[in-house]
Amino acid sequence: MVNVNELEFGIETFGDIVANEDGSLKTAAESIRQIIHEGEIADQFGIDVIGVGEHHRPDYSVSSPETVLAAIAAVTKNIKLATAVTVLSSDDPVRVYERFATLDGLSNGRAQVMLGRGSFTESFPLFGYDLTDYDDLFNEKLDLYNELRKEKPVTWSGKFRPALKNQEVYPKTENGELETYIGIGGSPESIIRTARYGYKVILAIIGGQADRFKPYIDLYHAAAKDLNMPEYPVAVHSHGFIADDEDKAIEVAFKNIKANFDRIGLTRGWAPMSREQFDNETQVGSFYVGNPETVAQRIARTVDLLDLGRFDLVYGAGNQTVAQRERMIELYATKVIPRVKEILQAKEAAK
């Protein structure tokens, strides 16, 4: 049963390049500064978490999310600061720990690690890793990260990194450990792995109906029980766009989300998104698009159906203007989130 009082809401950005009103594009630097401002707004409106992605591509501005989060930390008070996600496979777990422990210190314990294998692969050649080691890299690095997270001397050896012998890592955190999620795209193996490490699960639902993830969430809970590990409410992240006017929201979202998906599809060989596909995603799928009421109804349905503890809306896909992005954050915080809670409370009362 969804605990409405403890339900968390986040926003996430992949650092898409922001557009000017005339349709021209801002620079990556301007786009980064815009994210800092949006973090500030989100905090003022009481949004629980902001997540910033890590990409190494021309269409995204952020390759070092912790640096961006550190700047957001300086202008905010309560909002949690997450990566969405940190591509652990091509990173050094020691550096990952150090960066997050630093962020955690300067933000009064608001850092949140989200580890993933990443849905992009640009970081592999960039940092000298072989894609064919995709699974092994993540497994090994997660194993080391898990040791480091205990904040005790670490003795460890593996294939992809020099061994550690009784090494300490610094700084230590005030809470004694970094809050850690694993971002999962729907691989059952990843679900079981997350349960085995006792980490929290955030599911990336970026296409199709949320309904099909129900058995995956059951699998997470069953695996945690089998392995005698702690169980946490599951989080979900999905794309969306909110505007005051329903038709306008759909129009902006279609243009931008389609452009975003098609551009990625181009390098991966998948077909461009059709209007039928898009409409299906916004009506019953995993795009949360429309006016605040529409989006609230759809988020409430997903939260209830999947018994979630947290919902993160990915915003800013494609090239949206400052006005579109900021208005979306405001509507999400001031209209959608309270309305989702209201719908869920009414549902609970009726049960």
Binding site: L131, Y134, G208, A222, A223, D226
Partner: protein, 226 residues
Amino acid sequence: MTIKRVGILGAGKVGIVLAGLALDAGYTVRISGSGDVKKIALTIKMLVPGAIATENTDVIANSDIIILAIPLSRYQNIPAALLKGKLVIDAMNYWWETDGIREEVLAPDTTSSEQVQAYFNTSTLVKTFNHMGYHNLQEEAHAAGDPKRKALFVTGDEHTAVNEVAQFVDTLGFDQVVHYQLADGIMTEPGSPLFGASLSYTDLKDVIDHFDQTEFGKKIATAKKI
């Protein structure tokens, strides 16, 4: 041959979705992953209850049709002799994110399914289920005649085998656009306008019939001439 027992090699996203569809259609389903059965037992129990989680050898020995749903770069991990005399569906594609560099996985001059067939040279290969996204496969299976029904491309060199697979695809909830040439599998591989698309019979047939007019078709045609 009557197909009653379906064997799936590969317990990833595609393998699990196909297992679910086959169960819904009333087949007995066996499924295997890489390595120990224990690794997939809980997953199968939770995600596709009713399917039998087992080893490759058991899947192959006790199924009327075998579906290859493993990363393309790993098909040679399965001894070709194991599949001798079997009707095999190739649901695989070259996918650079899991398979790595194409030249290391595939020879440049033929399609992926032709190479898989050449390896499993005592089996009959039919290519299908490869071009529609796994969540579309899961969500868009419909009974014959349903206006929302989508279609899959089914192709292979052996007529009888292709027809049997087409019939099987029908029972799983999809119309079929059928060709009798395994090499035509290229029409639905990554880069094709059909890869990742979920289309009705009419729309799928239209693209297939006019494939040489698509950008991808033109590129393939040019590459062949060189």
